[in-house]
Symmetry: C2
């Protein structure tokens, strides 16, 4: 896949990553062409995108009857429901499938895209966390590349260009530390939704912003790195880097360390995945701001204080236990974050509920898709049950 | 050149880089074999090295009759004079030629090694600064790789692995800033030899340590980078980084920046040049100390204050003027630093003398070896003349 224009099938076009993917396409019309678009429920924006990019195939998951009605009015040609997403993922005219959704919705389309021989650019954390073993095995069998769209994993990928995977000593993921990097446990207990949504360096959706505040997000990234780069958990570390300039690092067996840096930008990892191995000139596009030394004068690195961020520990425990534990982790976290965002539980209760759910989880080894989805659904339900009882205080 | 053991011909084996090259060979006996050794005058150490590494060919430049006598006694098999160095550089059984000398002595042997089809690992600054056009043209014609042994250029090289040269936006060389990073012009005027020899992060020979204090060394590195990576001077920048952890950076056209880092170590760039594209495991060798985050907690970057470091400006001016100006710069600097080290001139007079010499220089375009050497010799003589007169204060 080295020629342009590349034909893109985009799942999750109305979300944050989806919209930024279309920004990149808009600035590089000679390089990319959108051939298929799918969204969950934002029909108005999807219709605008269809008008601008003229995809040959449009799909909308349409999770309510209201959305379904809107689709029939505004986008009568769109395919509704899960089969629409699968049609986009496997669309014959696409070269590359971009999984830009969050949550479970990306899992089956991603596996379908791999099966159809598409290069997959993946921004969907849950797919790799829950089903990394299935995704990477399928990609290996189909000789399909899984390219990260995510600043940390793109950084690691870039540091590995021209290097041998067998010469990696450690992957070092950087973490901004989120808004509560310096908060005490007492202060964390009293955190409000507004405080948790105010991320110091990145603007993202609500769920991932809360996951960044609890460091769950960084824990999930450790699992993603494990699957994407086939590196054991013992060789993956996290260091807090409040400036979010160095996006991650790779240390090699000779003691040499490579880092990748930029001002915070999601457009950069998106461009890199879409155009790889070509780098596109961003200077005149305004997509990536120039990083000037020494205006970026100080880069700081601190140890992650794990006791204050139990979600991070829980993610690594689920990773090591494997089986359906990571799926239960994802499901429990989704539900617990929702309870926090709707004011039903406190900030530290997110971790308490997840831990209580993981303790009750009956894992199975080498789960298939159905089992991973089931484990996640079970965990969501268990969070709801526990949140209403007093049992969760363990 | 991908098989081991690699057979090494080493010029300058008793100097700092030469000894560290032999450290690497000693720790990786399955990877490297020393087949030829050459030194200038340290016969005792050269004889010890011959006993340890059993090269098939030994040479000694022997710049005095005393040294010549010592060679005849201790190393009767050694070839004396410049022809010995050329024999080492072109030795048929060698795969890779390491130019580890400083000064002019490396120039002709390096060109001879290229002519003989050897991969060249180059630590010799003067060769590239004075004759970069000749060296790179010859290497291009002979399809020979010129590999840097130098922390900054090795860093750039490593950042470019797997990348396309046409996608470079800028090379950013880091500079420790030397011992006088914060000194005022007044303080610089009063600098003693002892102060100038006390480099904060690197231990090196006297000449290069003074060049680091004046920032001449960083200026020469800009010229080297230009030749090694074929990047115009306008795309090469220098930023002060006092910790000497990030050894240099490359910014690409998409706004992505790669940096290479380690604790200060010359063994690492030596290993990288000798074993490329393989990375050798340094962990048990003690050659490269582990860099631990967050024990390396802060990386700082500052602008280079060029008015306080006129040698840096002069190097860039000579670079832009090209012709024999860079050779005159090198010759003038060598002589001026010697005058400073022997207490005959003050620290700021190094730059004053060099500037006065460059102003008097009659350059020729596209000089051959003879012309580059002549320009350098002329500049040395002119420094001596001017240092005895009052004309130099311009």
């Amino acid at each position: 896949m080295t020629t342009f224009p590349r034909r893109i099938a985009l799942l999750g076009s109305t979300g944050s990553i989806g919209r930024q993917t279309l920004d990149v396409v808009r600035r590089f019309p000679d390089h990319f062409q959108v051939v298929a678009l799918a969204a969950r429920s934002n029909v108005t924006l999807l219709a605008q995108q269809v008008q601008e990019f003229h995809p040959s195939l449009v799909a909308c998951f349409a999770d309510t009857q209201g959305v379904e009605q809107a689709v029939r009015t505004q986008l009568p040609e769109a395919i509704l429901g899960p089969q629409g997403l699968l049609a986009v993922a496997t669309y014959a005219d696409a070269d590359i499938f971009v999984a830009a959704t969050s949550g479970l919705m990306g899992l089956q389309p991603t596996l379908a895209a791999i099966g159809a021989g598409k290069t997959v650019a993946i921004a969907n954390k849950e797919t790799l966390v829950m089903a990394g073993h299935l995704v990477m095995n399928a990609a290996h069998r189909a000789h399909v590349a899984i390219l990260p769209i995510d600043s940390e994993h793109s950084a690691i990928w870039q540091c590995l260009h021209g290097e041998s995977k067998s010469e990696i000593r450690r992957l070092i993921l950087t973490a901004s530390g989120g808004p509560f990097r310096r908060a005490s446990l007492e202060q964390l207990r009293a955190v409000t939704v507004e405080q948790a949504l105010a991320h110091p360096t990145w603007r993202m959706g609500a769920k991932i912003t809360i996951d960044s505040a609890t460091l769950m997000n960084k824990g999930l990234e450790v699992l993603e790195a494990h699957w994407l780069f086939d590196v054991p958990y013992e060789q993956i570390e996290v260091v807090v880097h409040p400036e979010s300039i160095v996006h991650s690092m790779v240390e090699f067996i000779d003691g040499s360390l490579k880092m990748q840096a930029s001002l915070p930008s999601m457009h950069l990892p998106i461009m890199h995945a879409l155009a790889y191995p070509t780098r596109l000139p961003s200077a005149e596009t305004g997509l990536v701001r120039d990083l000037h030394w020494p205006s970026v004068a100080h880069l700081n690195f601190e140890e992650l204080d794990i006791p204050r961020f139990p979600c991070f520990r829980l993610a690594l425990e689920a990773a090591r236990l494997s089986g359906t534990y990571p799926s239960a982790l994802v499901g429990a976290d989704e539900e617990a974050v929702e309870l926090f965002l709707t004011g039903q539980i406190g900030f530290l209760e997110i971790a308490e509920l997840i831990e209580a759910v993981l303790e009750r989880h009956q894992s199975i080894s080498y789960p298939d898709i159905a089992a991973t989805i089931e484990a996640s659904a079970w965990a969501r339900a268990m969070v709801r049950t526990l949140s209403k009882s007093s049992v969760r205080h363990i």
